[in-house]
């Protein structure tokens, strides 16, 4: 990590010019991935960005898997784009650092999702690795679904699993992301 901005990410949202998000664009993404990474005090000798590193490592692994071997999406560059990490999560426990209040965090995430929808991208998936944030993200996701009619998904990664490699295959991030891409654009019923 050189600067907390994922500057080299091949599929980064920030690397497209604005016309790439027009409805007629050949590279218009089908979904946005929003990494949600808390900075957490996990003890005197542990860097605060451990969780951030875990989330981005898993995203990197998922991208490698996504773009290699069989079952590649038909158009790789219109499959998804990765947003910058959302780090200003609610300060729900004292160990979370550099967060904000819960209403401020929810409002900011809403506003980013609204920007995504204005960019003609109708699916957004929140990827995180913190059980404490799960209920909050579920609440935001449901409200987004109701108020914006976006398709909203949340994925909680297992903390540490990127190093241990113990995630069952059906639960790997790339498999989950493939499901999101294939999820019907309109409600199934």
């Amino acid at each position: 990590m050189s600067g907390l901005f994922e500057i080299d990410a091949d599929m980064a949202w920030h690397s497209l010019p604005w016309q790439g998000f027009e409805p007629s664009s050949e590279v218009l993404p089908r979904m946005a991935i929003q990494p949600v990474c808390a900075f957490v005090n996990r003890g005197n000798d542990v860097p605060l960005n451990r969780e951030y590193e875990v989330v981005w490592k898993q995203i990197e692994v998922a991208c490698q898997s996504f773009f290699s071997g069989e079952n590649q999406p038909s158009n790789l560059h219109s499959s998804f784009r990765i947003l910058p990490s959302f780090n200003r999560v609610p300060n729900l426990v004292p160990e979370i650092l550099f967060g904000t209040s819960l209403p401020a965090a929810s409002k900011a995430l809403f506003e980013i999702a609204d920007s995504v929808q204005k960019a003609n991208v109708r699916k957004i998936v929140f990827v995180h690795a913190n059980p404490i944030l799960g209920p909050w993200l579920d609440t935001v996701a449901r409200e987004l679904r109701i108020y914006s009619d976006m398709r909203v998904f949340t994925i909680q990664l297992e903390f540490g699993s990127s190093e241990a490699g113990v995630v069952a295959e059906e639960r790997t991030l790339d498999a989950l992301l493939r499901e999101v891409i294939a999820f019907p654009a309109n409600p199934p019923f």
Binding site: S2, F39, N41, N44, L83, F98
Partner: protein
């Protein structure tokens, strides 16, 4: 210690709580909070320009700091207040209120960690009015010194470009050619001027006694303001060097005072 380790340990979030406590013991320690934006930058540049520039400035600042200078970086805010780019897809924007909340809460935690000086390194003009009021709030609410670093160097730009080439024009495009040339599509570079479309009279776009609330789309269909076709990597490299020089000068004044 490798150079990479030295660099990463300038970031508060790459440090352990123990290291942060030790850093905060120095009463002159300065925390820099980078703020940027992800918003349209014409047909020839990616939407990440402001945050890419901020990232590059931070890297170069870290390389330019002496090891014993007590300067640390808070986690950047790379999505800013960009509602003036409404209508251009790909722009990610917070409201002024949300942006303010993120800056304020960061400053509050910096204070709780024991630091007493914070400076904002902003690379998006649309953030500036919010930051100008927020630094006052930081000082009155938390009792720490807060300021905004000026990152614009002296340039040899044409006066019209200097005044009105405010977005994706010659200056920003040149900087991008210097730091991220692979992300610049010069064959799509174009030129629009806001003064061509602004009604004659007392009202100005900004920095004036009478202003009007504009959107970028009022002035340019492509999102460019200025003449991007004149951009060059060599100018960009000179100006980036100028940016780092003016920033380092201000930072050194703040940690020595």
């Amino acid at each position: 210690m490798t150079q990479e380790n030295t660099r990463s340990q300038r970031f508060l979030v790459s440090m352990t709580p123990k290291m942060i406590r030790e850093a905060a013991r120095n009463s002159k320690a300065l925390i820099i909070l980078p703020t940027g934006a992800i918003e349209q930058h014409g047909p020839h540049l990616p939407v990440g320009v402001d945050s890419l520039l901020g990232t590059s400035f931070v890297s170069r600042l870290i390389a330019g700091l002496n090891e014993d200078e007590p300067v640390w970086f808070a986690p950047p805010i790379w999505i800013g207040k960009s509602n003036e780019h409404d209508g251009y897809p790909g722009t990610l924007s917070l409201s002024g209120d949300s942006f303010r909340a993120q800056v304020l809460s960061t400053a509050e935690q910096v204070k709780q960690m024991g630091f007493s000086r914070i400076a904002l390194l902003n690379t998006h003009g649309g953030n500036q009015p919010v930051l100008q009021t927020t630094v006052l709030e930081i000082e009155t609410s938390f009792g720490i010194k807060a300021s905004i670093l000026d990152s614009h160097p002296i340039t040899d730009l044409d006066p019209r470009e200097e005044q009105f080439g405010i977005h994706a024009g010659q200056y920003e495009t040149s900087l991008m050619l210097a730091i991220c040339p692979d992300m610049v599509e010069m064959d799509k570079a174009d030129c629009y001027w806001m003064d061509d479309r602004f009604p004659k009279g007392s009202f100005a776009a900004e920095n004036h006694f009478a202003t009007f609330a504009w959107k970028i789309a009022d002035f340019t269909p492509s999102g460019t303001l200025g003449d991007a076709t004149l951009a060059s990597a060599s100018d960009g490299e000179r100006w980036v060097t100028g940016v780092i020089d003016v920033l380092l000068k201000q930072i050194r004044e703040k940690v020595s005072g």
